[in-house]
Amino acid sequence: MMMIPANANAQEPENLLDPWIDEQLDTIPLDDWGDVFQDMGKSAGVKDLIREAAQGNAPMDLRSWIGLLGRSVRNEWGRTVRQLAIVLIISMICAVLANLKTNMKHGQVAKIAEYCGFLLVAGLLLSSVFELVNLCGAAVDRLTGIVQTMFPVLLALMLTAGEMTGQGLLQPLVATAAGGASVLFHAVIIPLIVIDLAVVTAGALGAGGTLKKLHKLMQKLCKWLIGAVFTLFFGVLAIQGIAATTFDGMAARTARYTVENVVPVAGKMFAQSVDLVFSGSILLKNAVGVVGMVALAGICLEPIIRLCLMIVCLRMASAITEPMEVSPVTESLDGYGDAVSTLAVSIGAVGILFFIMTAVVLGMGSAVLMMRG
């Protein structure tokens, strides 16, 4: 008996899936992402961006990213230069006082004045650094918020795409990463950095001797922690990702084979509609993931730019003040620079952790699609 392929009269898959995507988007709770995209200069809502991404349009192109980067740097540059100028002026006054000290009969007065100058610099810089610490804390909360609203959707889409094993394996990892990253940052990294800043300030005062070793210990503790968490997390993620892809790919293939062979034509039609829904789910999952990754990158961008400019400001100030021989100021600037670098590494690490976790979920879907054949 001659049978014409079932999809001979069917419409193009893109058009066919559009109403399905619209219907699915109505069921997805993604309204809690707030003004992430408004901050990035996008007027479209989250769901519109996902719809566009599902049609193959990137939510942010390279030009938009460069524009956003330029805007952020321009906004922060003035503040950084002003801060650098103030630090340098105070350092010069300190240097003059330090030189006067040797010529004055009562050098202690000049010494106290020098320390007052240092405290002024420290107060100014510490207030900026604490502002950055708070900004990073808020950014981590926003990142966690995005992950906590995005991952239930991605995991649900994994379920509807037939990636049961992958979803089951990823759920504890996602819960651990989302909760653990926030706790690690707020309860461990931020306190360590705050303590480090205090150690640097107390060490620069130099009353009880130097505290450089303690400062180095704080730095190393932060770096070891981040390194250990990263290694552990990505090790588990990589192994589970590979295992889940193989299981899900084979399970979907077996299920389709069974369905196709129950009733010749109706079974094939059913298998086709299941396949289409699976593929649609993977397409929608990729779109949600891509938009989520853009949001994650957008949230990380502002604190990282501000931290980088602060590091530049502190390192430049430290380099310029070194020949002036105002050791408390130079030492503290260097120490604050280290602390801010650690903060930048930490927020970058949290962002990359969430970013790679999303990429693994998206990659898993594509791999399952390939395995399905």
């Binding site: 150690v199 109706a266 039609m269």
Partner: protein
């Protein structure tokens, strides 16, 4: 955070106190003693958090997996909404495809222009009935071919098929 703030403040105040004290004392031998005392004070303040860690109970499994239940519930709620949309959509897709396939088969093999209407059972048990309307009068052989074709390809019994000829 409050504890950290007070710890930091203690550290800075001791450092500042040391600087002021050593500035007020002129004799170098006394300055050495002041530095020693300030150093001891600093060590005492610095080791305070380490001593407090002794009483600190921390269960990582409770901390890390406390979001698990919430995530699983939310995923399951979203997934069941999506499954509902998928089920409706797959039914619609399968019905459209089936109608189109039967119409094409009848036209290709028998040469009739037909209109097929497939209805699904509301309880989700499968096809409720298939109604095939053909403008021309169908011969007995043609009717038999259609019934056989529907039985073989779609597993449909005769009671679910309505054949209307012109």
């Amino acid at each position: 955070m409050e504890q950290i703030k007070s710890w930091v403040l203690q550290l800075v105040m001791i450092g500042l106190g040391g600087v002021i004290a050593s500035s007020l004392i002129h004799r170098e031998s006394f300055q050495r003693y002041v530095k020693l005392v300030i150093g001891f004070l600093m060590i005492m303040v610095l080791i305070q958090p380490v001593i407090k860690l002794r009483d600190f109970s921390f269960d990582p499994s409770r901390l890390l997996f406390e979001n698990m239940g919430g995530l699983a519930e939310e995923t399951s709620a979203i997934s069941s909404d999506m499954e509902r949309v998928n089920a409706n959509w797959m039914d619609e897709y399968a019905v459209k495809n089936m109608q189109s396939q039967i119409e094409t088969d009848i036209e290709t093999v028998l040469g009739y222009d037909s209109r097929v209407d497939v209805r699904l059972s509301p309880d989700g048990s499968g096809i409720y009935r298939v109604r095939i309307t053909v403008r021309e009068a169908l011969t007995g052989e043609d009717q038999l071919w259609i019934l056989n074709s529907l039985r073989e390809n779609y597993g449909l019994t005769e009671d679910k098929i309505r054949l209307i000829g012109g």
